[in-house]
Amino acid sequence: MKLFKKLLAVAAVAALSGSLAADAADPVKMAWVYLGPVGDGGWTYAHDLGRKAAEAKMGAKISTTIVENVPESADAERVIRDLATKGNKIIFTTSFGYMDSTLKVAKSFPKVNFYHATGFKDAANVAIYNSRMYEPAYLAGVIAGHVSKKGVLGFVASFPIPEVVRNINAYTMGARSVNPKITTKVVWISSWFDPSKERQAAEALIGQGADVLLQNTDSSAVLQTAQDKGVLAFGWDSDMTQYAPKAHLASCIEVWGPYYTSVAEAAVSGKPMTKAVWGGIKDGMNDLVSVSSLVPPAAAKMAAAKKADIASGKFNVFAGPIKGQDGKDKVPAGKTLTDKEIDGINWYVEGVEGAVPGAK
């Protein structure tokens, strides 16, 4: 009997130490849900670069999983739930349309931390993070204002949500800060990733006289169409120089690496999750890069100066006076839109043609 007790004690100690050792070595499991393929060369590609950066920095302390091509439908909920069930402690859902699915799953998994990109609803275990892409979009506008010969810009837009509408506004305001007569034509394609539609939208805009294009969609099709038709354009989400060197002016890029690394570090050291990160050029979360030789020196210089002002906080894209489409002040001089207001923009600034779909 005594021997039996001893054996039991030894076994218990062994089991305990075994489990402790396992705890120390177990990496934190992190998962990413992607809208497109990592090979889209744009949005999802940028997120995956961020994931790889976090992985490189954290080494064996984290293990990562990705799920690509997840539609913004009921499928999203299934995928997120599946990832939570498989023991992932941190789940990044990287598209606007995953918002409600993320919140729903988060309710059933209170111990899992969810991070939703570009949304506006959070919860106890759901944080939101976003990049102020309107900052590089404004800088792109400054360049467009210099190089547009016809004074007509084109914008290939995805869905009429504030994130996209404010990028159209920022692009237009940047251009009008150089040439106040400039107008922007917008075409909505109701998709984030559809090279075929993106190309047709670009063709339609070029056909209507637009000679500098920007897009809020995820492939390089708009830029390449611009090159084929002999007009100019920008890269979006990732550096797209090599796709169309004869048309590429600069690229507005997302930089997710530092953010993903900071989340991973906090998780590994057991710190609570950080809420609502909305970073811009100042925080190194986005940038305007690869300004090409097609950009005249004066334009490049002005864009660089504006960038420095944004980084130092001296200049805010949504500081008044900002005129609406009717020419009346939407934001009076001396007032600056709050983050909450910027996040709810559903109106166009002066110079944008047409109306925001679905807005009253």
Binding site: G36, P37, V38, G39, D40, G41, Y45, E68, N69, G154, P160, K185, V186, V187, W188, I189, S190, F193, D194, P195, S196, K197, R199, Q200, A201, E203, A204, L205, I206, G207, Q208, A210, S219, S220, A221, Q224, Q242, Y243, A244, E353, G354, A355, P357, G358
Partner: protein, 308 residues
């Protein structure tokens, strides 16, 4: 809205119609032999990635085109073996081929994402004709594959309705039992028709990768393989109607986007649903004449045949 602004619209529609026409033409021949291959999307992607890899490795356009055709045929051969030799369900095998093609092409193309095609098909304007208003740039300034699509449509029509082989192909699709009793090698003919479908789908994929988009991305064809499948039904298995259908489908999206660019105040949501509305309308119109539909549809479509 001046008349000149219609020129880019028409060009845009034709450019989008060509790959639909190529893929649908192949599927039409396959279906005429009684085989329903739902894997067009997968075969297109296989062709596309192959063409892109050839170009990226320094190959020329002719080589890329041939390789894309071969890739499509290899994919079709797998389908044919499973359905014609092993007698598996054509619907299930076709869906599997679509998924397989997407996966394999994504896997093969991993290292090629983020680079533009080194060489690509350029437009070949026909002197004088390409200067015509509206239709000139669209129809007489296409790339080589565009002209090829038109020639192949004519050739397929001629083959199906004016040659003995075409008659044999159609009879196999109508009644494999009768065809076999007449001494025709049903399975072999179906193999050939399926391979032709793969070849054409590969060609369509090649068009996307090295003529239209000049790049490789996962899911490059964005579902157009499925539209090509639907087109065959719309065209009630007639090649010339296929051309009109492809233009309609290529044009309907372009038209919606064009209206927005012109500044017509229409809901973007309504425009996004245009292709689907067009689908319903066309389906309603063609199904009004049930007799014509039945007369053209291959009777044995999708049914396995146990040849001797």
């Amino acid at each position: 809205m001046n008349i000149d602004s219609l020129t880019p619209l028409f060009a845009s529609a034709v450019a989008a119609a060509i790959p639909l026409l190529l893929a649908a033409l192949g599927e039409l021949v396959t279906e005429r032999s009684g085989v329903l291959n739902l894997g067009v999307e997968g075969m297109m992607l296989m062709g596309g990635v192959t063409a892109f890899i050839v170009v990226a490795s320094g190959g020329g356009l002719v080589l890329a085109t041939l390789a894309a055709c071969c890739a499509g045929m290899v994919a079709a051969l797998m389908f044919a073996f499973v359905t014609l030799t092993l007698q598996a369900s054509q619907v299930a095998a076709g869906l599997a081929l679509a998924i397989l093609g997407s996966g394999v092409s994504a896997f093969l193309g991993r290292g090629y994402v983020g680079n533009p095609a080194k060489v690509s098909f350029s437009e070949l304007p026909i002197p004088l004709l390409s200067k015509l208003p509206i239709v000139g740039p669209a129809l007489f300034s296409m790339n080589a594959l565009g002209y090829l699509a038109v020639i192949l449509t004519a050739a397929t029509t001629w083959f199906l309705y004016r040659t003995k082989s075409g008659l044999i192909l159609r009879s196999v699709g109508e009644s494999p039992v009768v065809a076999q009793s007449l001494g025709l090698q049903v399975i072999r003919i179906r193999y050939l028709a399926t391979l032709f479908g793969g070849l054409m789908a590969g060609l369509a994929g090649c068009y996307y990768a090295v003529a239209q988009f000049k790049m490789w991305q996962e899911g490059l064809t964005s579902g157009n393989g499925w539209i090509a499948l639907a087109l065959v039904v719309f065209a009630s298995w007639r090649p010339v109607r296929l051309m009109l259908g492809a233009l309609l489908f290529g044009g309907v999206t372009a038209f919606g986007l064009y209206l927005q660019a012109v500044g017509v105040q229409v809901s973007a949501f309504a425009l996004a649903s245009l292709p689907y509305i067009a689908t319903v309308v066309v389906l309603a119109v063609i199904s009004r004449d049930q007799r014509a539909l039945r007369r053209n549809a291959p009777t044995s479509l999708g049914q396995s045949f146990f040849g001797m």
